[in-house]
Symmetry: C2
DNA sequence: GTGTATCAACCGACCGTTCGGTAGGTAGCC
DNA sequence: GGCTACCTACCGAACGGTCGGTTGATACAC
């Protein structure tokens, strides 16, 4: 009771707790009073740190994908062959999307986007778009080296991100099912997906 | 003005209008009073047809996928080669998921599933699961004929449905963006996806 | 063909609750 | 004294859902 938190990261603490609650019960299903009490403070105190519920949510969205993006950046900059890079990226994306809290937020952003289009827009600008460019740069590198055939970037993202995002969505939707992991065996799906994608990139298109 | 509706499908009319509103503004973002007034009746009258908001929503979910499932069934039963069947199925799935209202509901179901797990459960039981079996039967047919290699059914659904569902989700999330169609060119993505999937099935795995 | 019972469909008004957000005050710290 | 972080107490609005009553069509008895 004597020395309280270093007071530095109370804000971060709130964001992390709020993220967890939003993921559990949705945006509309999570009153900020619940967030506040989970943080051990009152609603009014929470409003001392954030000007509104939407701003709090936006902060939750922003919070995580910084590190997620860094991870991909690191891989893009590393000096292995493009194929290994791509496999690493897929690994990270599955981890981020299915395991961490950031990735699981897509359906939440979709939910909120009706009322606050800005959240979705900044999500696209600050996360999706940069990530798309990073991945594309890896593939381009492979094309230059003659390992990959040219591919429509949008098709690539469609095939690459599609299954991952849907997997996260499904696991959230059907989280109540008791045989969730047998329905959606992450590891198997990941390796199968990666294999197929790489093969397809080697055969290539346009 | 003389003879009103055949009174038969007032319920269906409500379901269709409600579906549109739910898609526009989400579950929590759509008060049932809004549904009622869009139907030209009052809230109390709406409660004459449905016992609660969740039941109304469940009816909206159920309403559409009956016909969507039939469509796939028709294809599965038709007498063409498995590859053509599969291409037809992909065609229909893109249409249903991206164009019609049914497919666009996945994020909504995810939103509601927190509060009403039953909705997601019946969605899985009555739509996802049967559809999975139908598609698997087409692939099995191809395997018997030696056209396709064996494949983990879950991986197949992962690769097949993933991009489609995510496409629908993205188009909903980023619906505010003005260059939506250039970001997500449905036809191109569809043909590219189909091509890749078929090729992968021919090379096959396990 | 007139009274009457029934029933689905509908309405206006209202209730209880929840929730986002605010006002105003307090305790400790530089 | 001014600033940060927090509190108790409260407000106004929105929403899901209910209540009691009305209307109009169908059915049937006499």
């Amino acid at each position: 009771m004597s020395q309280e938190k270093p007071t530095v990261d109370r804000r971060s603490e709130i964001i992390e707790i709020a993220t967890g609650l939003f993921l559990q019960t949705g945006f509309a299903g999570t009153p900020i009073s619940a967030v506040a009490s989970a943080c051990g403070i009152t609603k009014a105190s929470l409003y001392h740190h954030f000007t509104g519920k939407d701003q709090l949510f936006a902060a939750c969205v922003t919070h995580g994908y910084g590190t997620a993006l860094e991870e991909v950046q690191k891989i893009a900059r590393s000096d292995t062959d493009p194929e290994t890079k791509l496999r690493h990226v897929i690994d990270v994306l599955y981890d981020v999307t299915v395991t961490s809290s950031v990735g699981k937020m897509s359906p939440l952003i979709a939910e909120v986007s009706h009322a606050f289009p800005g959240v979705a827009q900044s999500f696209h600008q600050d996360y999706i778009s940069p990530q798309e460019k990073l991945i594309q740069s890896i593939v381009d590198e492979g094309v230059e080296q003659g390992v990959f055939k040219t591919q429509d970037p949008r098709l690539l993202m469609h095939i690459l991100m599609g299954p991952i995002v849907t997997l996260s969505l499904s696991r959230q939707m059907f989280g109540a099912l008791e045989d969730l992991d047998s329905h959606f065996p992450i590891e198997d799906l990941k390796t199968g997906h990666a294999e197929m994608l790489i093969q397809s990139l080697k055969r290539g298109g346009t």
